[in-house]
Symmetry: C2
Subunit: 343 residues, 2 copies
């Protein structure tokens, strides 16, 4: 691949390129990339949503095993995920990038290919951003806007004692992917000449880590079924940490049933290889970008019908108490540990 | 000053602190910091504006001479400036920070003091953000929203041949401040023991560089005078670069009158000390965060009344042609050079 330095285009030339990489098609946008600010006509009768995330090389991603295209996809997905977790409709994105010299125009184009892919999948549009150089790492900051009718909004704070705790997909899968990638990286570094990666058979978890697909279908289905979750959050800190956010803001506690947590056979086998407990990967793994919600118990039968949803416990009245109920009925307190980047 | 490591609070503890540092008072905000996304009720009958900037240590700022409080102020100001340049009303902010270990809780609090100061001055409110660690530099990304009625919006693209080119304040002043700061840093590094900084007598330019105050009054005055600029941009790349943006997007050219560019005596004297031309500082200096606008010539007399405004030239019909008319009447082409971080 050729490596055109970003400096050869300059900031203005680069912005012209980006406009072609993420073309705009949205009749509510009066002005997108290219002025002091973007301008859009807000959705009628709705509240506006806005969320910001940053992704930092060496903290959130490792360019030795994350392609720029996947990184672009994930950048969009993790932020759109925040709007979905409010039960909102994502709409517009701005992207700020600080680029170290190693990022060529070609790598940047790959990144925007991933961004564009996710934009099409989740029906969002890039309408602005900022570009800078960086003397060290690649920094990405993304802001997403969206909208929702006031009565559709779901906050973290609405869980009630007795509510079912419901999760999409398989928490721990992203962390499983990360562990495989880190293991392969170690193999590679210890013996680069004889490195034969065995990533293909782990694509079930690696894909979740490097390019998580969001559960937009579940939200549509819930709406059609007339079910509005009482509280919702997306899984970025791990099941335990994110459930704690819901409990803390709702003034409640929770009991998780260990056997109900949808840990797949693959996750169990992989955790066994590392001599670790699969349930801990689900509880503390993070970056799953699944949806964790609480739902009134009257909807149990309907929820059980939907394959992507698992009922994994219930909300209790004891503030900030997180318990894990094991197979034999014993209940142990779950440590309040989540991802802490600041260690 | 004590130096509490950010890791001792963790991300969640830190967020609780930040909520007290930038308290929220805004009845249109349904949910601010603390959920997956912030929620606000959009201004009735108006278009929404959004703009993102990033500020990177070592590229945009130098912590050896920029205090965290000033940095916080500037972070907000440079982004609010983008909304003003659309002739809009700034409203909400999100802030994403990637913090290296050297940034203690106390330094972060100073940063937010500056943020809060600017928020009060420009009537904007922090409603969300993200925090991460950073293995190397401090990285700041800020997104601002605002609103404007469709007919009040001013784009870069509306300049017409014959329009007056009008600028607020004194372009080049921020660059003068930067040069003084860099000179003092050099003195310090060459002889730390005998360093006696002479910054006070240069506060007129240093302040513009480290904490630029925005010209909100001018916009109110123009509105009251019934004058709507035909095009507008804020000065971040220097007079030449930003005027070129207006010309390029308007399909026009421009002639600047060298004698009309409001270069103060202080800027001239300082440029002399460096054996450089003051007018080049104004044209290529950057980071002034003044407003550059084009106005229909019928408003000349009214514009001349307002002290903070200077008429510095006129728009021409020749696309992308930027000329400087010197005292004796000769016209020379202005180089199309602006700030290029990617060199």
């Amino acid at each position: 691949m050729s490596k055109t330095p970003v400096s050869s285009l300059g900031e203005f030339g680069l912005i012209e390129q980006i406009k072609t990489w993420v073309p705009l098609q949205d009749s509510d946008v009066l002005k997108a990339i290219g002025d002091d600010a973007a301008v859009f006509h807000p959705a009628a009768g709705a509240e506006q949503l806005i969320s910001t995330d940053c992704l930092v090389e060496g903290i959130h991603f490792d360019l030795t095993f994350q392609s720029m295209k996947h990184l672009g996809y994930k950048t969009v997905a993790v932020n759109v995920s925040d709007i979905l977790a409010m039960n909102g409709t994502p709409q517009y994105l701005t992207l700020a990038l600080a680029l170290p010299q190693k990022i060529s125009v070609e790598l940047l184009q790959e990144f925007y290919e991933g961004v564009h892919l996710a934009c099409r999948e989740y029906h969002v549009v890039v309408i602005g951003g900022d570009l800078s150089a960086s003397s060290a790492n690649l920094f990405i900051s993304v802001t997403v806007t969206g909208y929702a009718e006031k009565n559709d909004l779901v906050y973290r704070s609405g869980a009630k004692p007795g509510d079912l705790i419901v999760v999409t997909g398989n928490p721990g899968r992203s962390y499983a992917g990360l562990r495989v990638l880190l293991r392969e990286k170690e193999f590679y570094l210890s013996d680069p000449d004889n490195f034969a990666p065995t990533l293909d058979r782990h694509s079930w978890c690696i894909e979740r880590h490097i390019a998580p697909r969001l559960r937009t279908g579940v939200l549509t289905w819930l709406k059609q079924a007339g079910i509005r979750p009482t509280a919702m959050i997306d899984l970025s800190d791990g099941l335990a940490g994110d459930l704690f956010h819901i409990c803390h803001q709702s003034g409640t506690g929770a009991v998780l049933e260990e056997l109900s947590i949808p840990v797949t056979r693959e996750i169990r086998e992989l955790a066994d290889q590392f001599d670790e407990e699969a349930v801990r990967w689900a509880l503390f793994g993070g970056e799953d970008y699944e949806l964790l919600m609480t739902v009134s118990p009257e909807h149990r039968t309907v929820i059980e019908e939907y394959e992507e949803l698992s009922i994994i416990g219930a909300i209790t009245s004891e503030p900030d108490s997180l318990l894990l109920e094991e197979a034999e009925g014993t209940r142990t307190e779950i440590e309040k540990q989540g991802w802490n980047h600041f260690t």
